[in-house]
Symmetry: C2
Subunit: 415 residues, 2 copies
Amino acid sequence: MSEVVAKAELAKSVVTALGKLTTAQKNEALLTMADALQQNADAIIAANAKDLERGKENGTPESMLDRLALNAARIEAIAEGLRQIVALPDPVGDTLETLERPNGLIIEKIRVPLGVIGIIYEARPNVTVDAAGLCLKTGNAVVLRGGSAALYTNRQIVEVLHAALAETNMPPEALQLIEDPNRASVDEMLKLNGLLDVIIPRGGSSLIQNVVRNATVPVIETGAGICHTYVDEGADPAMAEAIALNAKAQRPSVCNSMETLLVHRTFAGEHLPALGEAFRDARVELRGCNRTRTLIPWALPVTEENFATEYNDYILNVKVVDDIDEALEHIAKYGTKHSECIVTENEENAERFQDDVDAAAVYHNASTRFTDGFEFGFGAEIGISTQKLHARGPMGLPALTSVKYKIYGNGQIRK
Amino acid sequence: MSEVVAKAELAKSVVTALGKLTTAQKNEALLTMADALQQNADAIIAANAKDLERGKENGTPESMLDRLALNAARIEAIAEGLRQIVALPDPVGDTLETLERPNGLIIEKIRVPLGVIGIIYEARPNVTVDAAGLCLKTGNAVVLRGGSAALYTNRQIVEVLHAALAETNMPPEALQLIEDPNRASVDEMLKLNGLLDVIIPRGGSSLIQNVVRNATVPVIETGAGICHTYVDEGADPAMAEAIALNAKAQRPSVCNSMETLLVHRTFAGEHLPALGEAFRDARVELRGCNRTRTLIPWALPVTEENFATEYNDYILNVKVVDDIDEALEHIAKYGTKHSECIVTENEENAERFQDDVDAAAVYHNASTRFTDGFEFGFGAEIGISTQKLHARGPMGLPALTSVKYKIYGNGQIRK
């Protein structure tokens, strides 16, 4: 039996027990995990050093090494993240509806855990703990398959968490780490119908697309964001500049940052040169359409491929459009249904934009950077769904649950 | 361009317009469709005769020809089904939540259509109309791919419905029928990410498994039901018999009927012979474990394969179990997470069964035959979900919707 099947079966073997844990028991497990991480920080940092060393030998880019690196402060922050999950309400067991039928049947719709959740992610050890915390809080078992570049770190973290869970009512089997560094272990997870109830990919677009294209297990597609800001005719220029700069440059590496700025031609004629200067000051490289380049001569030319690219970097496409229709068409063609924004003082256009744009989050006069479970007030986030089934947009704890109907009868039969 | 892509693109081209139709406009479209079906019953029946003739020539079984056959009464019933959908509340546009954030952002969570729904089904013309009605009522476009044995009928029905829609505010492009009878057209639909938002298979288990195994478009798995009834120690014998007979024999061809009866050994010793007689009177063939066959000598022996089979027929597996644990283990091994029942007077066992069984609907003292959108009071049903994502159990109109966050700001940027 492969490692993947063996560990998924172990995970599945405890789902019934997990579903019966009380909120207090689950919270105690998470708090014990948090304490154990801090108490064992040295061992985790030592394991992490091995991953970092190997990464440097392999010529891993600095930005990726930074995501991989742990120190005492980062481990404390990760532990604090678990404690924050403890504070959140537990959705499991909630009665969502009670139906009483004319024949006397009582039908209760109850929130239950999903079962076994597979998480496929990159070499980011914080995701190991964060995903485990969210899944366990909602009574799910979790099978983690992190990037192999973090294997020493993840193995040490999971060893610490298993030891912590052994002191609690939560069975350690609920948390499984796939250690096989080969791509085949990912492929195997993707087809594990019957053992995994859902797979959530977290990472860049190639990781996500591989999961979406090859999984037979149900998937919640997350993350890829080609987000647009459309500055309408008559938009407030100061507000437009503040929102556009924030959407691009406040943190370009994340999925809710802007990749393309669409500007109404009237607004562009009056304000695009100044807006270009603001982006130059923020060290953002601009790639513009022809009309943009007459107004911002230093902008590079933009290509179709640029419009379809999630840069996650200090690069921005700029396109001047004739009207809101052209903006809507562009977004329909290149958007990834994540987050889109209109800056306008025209209420009619705002309403039309919010109705017509097909995306998880559609903003009027606010930065797309707010698409986030914490900013929405959910207190946690397992990811941002860009699909329409099950959950859309930032996913808090309820997105990690399903429902079950319990039906109470006294001998009813169907006529 | 293939027929599938061309028609999916046509469907997608109208989703924005569909999303804006009022409930009254959608209802008017459905009523016009219903009237047109009845007015054109002769043409539909003539087309249906061609399918039936071809089916007889090909040696199609009588039961399948019966599902395919239409007459005036059946067309009236199908039209009546559309009128019933008109009477249901329209979930689209409902505000599910309004969040006001400390920074002044107002976040509204709104129900929206899913977009374009693909339905893959067998040679049952009633599904053509029923699925179209449910999808259009919820503002979705629909791409239908019915069994090729019903092609003449489906083509005629869709021609009638297109003519009807042309007289209404609903664009006829919202309804597409794939006419290519080759399996390749199904395969193409399964990979149509970006054009189809979801695929719902309706039919037998091989059709559903093909979709689940091969689709890259998100799927809602429906239907397959290996349902169990567990008769506990001390169950009321009359109630147990009534429920078991109803679950098996009231309509064996449907997914919520019982395939395996599990009987506690004490109950079996006292009551299984009489229960066997009741099934014999109902012309149900029994296949039993060894203990069953000592009590019901005429029962055939049961195999592992039998336990894993959805008969949809007058055949029942019977197994005597030592206790509720053995019943739960059997259900965990062979159940399809559809509908399961315990008959017992022991409240503790009932509660444990309802908690521990992982299924969409778990019954205490009532027949599994009630798992149905109409019996649950939803007024409609696009299918019964046996997966845990998005929707579980009978799916009414809300299962055909997604959500969107509309965010209202006045210049907010992220700090």
